[in-house]
Symmetry: C2
Subunit: 150 residues, 2 copies
DNA sequence: TTTGATAATGATAATCATTACCAAAAAGGT
DNA sequence: ACCTTTTTGGTAATGATTATCATTATCAAA
């Protein structure tokens, strides 16, 4: 799949390809951080100063809707975004959050055990409450090594 | 433990007992819902019309800090609160959220499997990343039976 | 290539939950 | 009852996100 595979998907959904969208997508593709809308704005602004914050928000919403990126809430009052699984080799993972300094660690371990639990849980909950489960959220909170020493 | 056990704990921490605090705590004790600050405000207002929204927020923060209640974010832009585990027979549970109508279901099932996974995961993460894990969040999202039919 | 319908943009104002501020009122030890 | 300290509640401020709307850009068709 070439560099422009997402262009096709974009077009296929009837959306237009624009410079802002290109740049925003690129920024998210090249970082391993969990950027907020404002951080993305600042980053995009470097190569495309005409960008407006509104466009950032709108584009992020669009990218989420299309499944290119994921939106998270890590409890710091602003949404954060990262590339979806499958893109740029991103694997399914969860987050480990330091409640002191805000550090975020992605971890992909325990996938097997987790999958098992999720399978059981989703099945059980579906039956018991007649819920159709589409998604889940798992996060761990604690203190990173640096903050433990303080 | 009598009805006033928490009065002692309150006093013990150097906090004063006030009518607003009493009323707010009572509201949270008597509901099984996941109320937002504003909903609590409205409820408290019925029996104590002089209440101020600021006091609601302050008291909730205090109750969270003291461990009487838990604060949650269910993705609807406002914090929601519920009585902590152990109070009024509340058990440790997680939430099942309907992404369509916002319905929230508490479930206590799968505690064993979950506990196992959490134990393993927390241990593994602690070792690998030298993180001291203090808390976790697990939520499932999906469609409730009513919303599936639409 | 130019055109034209339509979608996208960006500056600005509006929202809305939550906080900060501060003077007035309440709590609780004396 | 008094006095010191905490608590309260009205109001304004904050800060992320959304709505509005005139201007601009995209792209299929001529």
């Amino acid at each position: 799949m070439g560099e422009r595979w997402w262009h096709r998907k974009f077009r296929g959904c009837g959306y237009r390809l624009t410079v802002p969208r290109e740049v925003i997508f690129t920024v998210l593709s090249k970082t391993s951080k969990h950027l907020s809308a404002e951080e993305i704005y600042i980053e995009v602004h470097k190569t495309y100063p005409a960008i407006g914050l509104t466009t950032i928000y709108r584009t992020l919403e669009l990218l989420v809707e299309m499944g290119f990126i994921l939106k998270f809430d890590f409890g710091d009052k602003r949404a954060r975004y990262e590339l979806a699984e499958g893109l740029q080799g991103k694997q399914h993972h969860h987050h480990l959050l330091c409640t002191d300094c805000g550090k975020i660690i992605d971890y992909t371990d325990f996938a097997k055990e987790e999958k098992e639990l999720l399978g059981q849980t989703e099945k059980g909950l579906s039956e018991k409450f007649n819920f159709k489960i589409t998604n889940h959220l798992i996060q761990f909170y604690g203190l990173c090594s640096k903050c433990q020493k303080k």
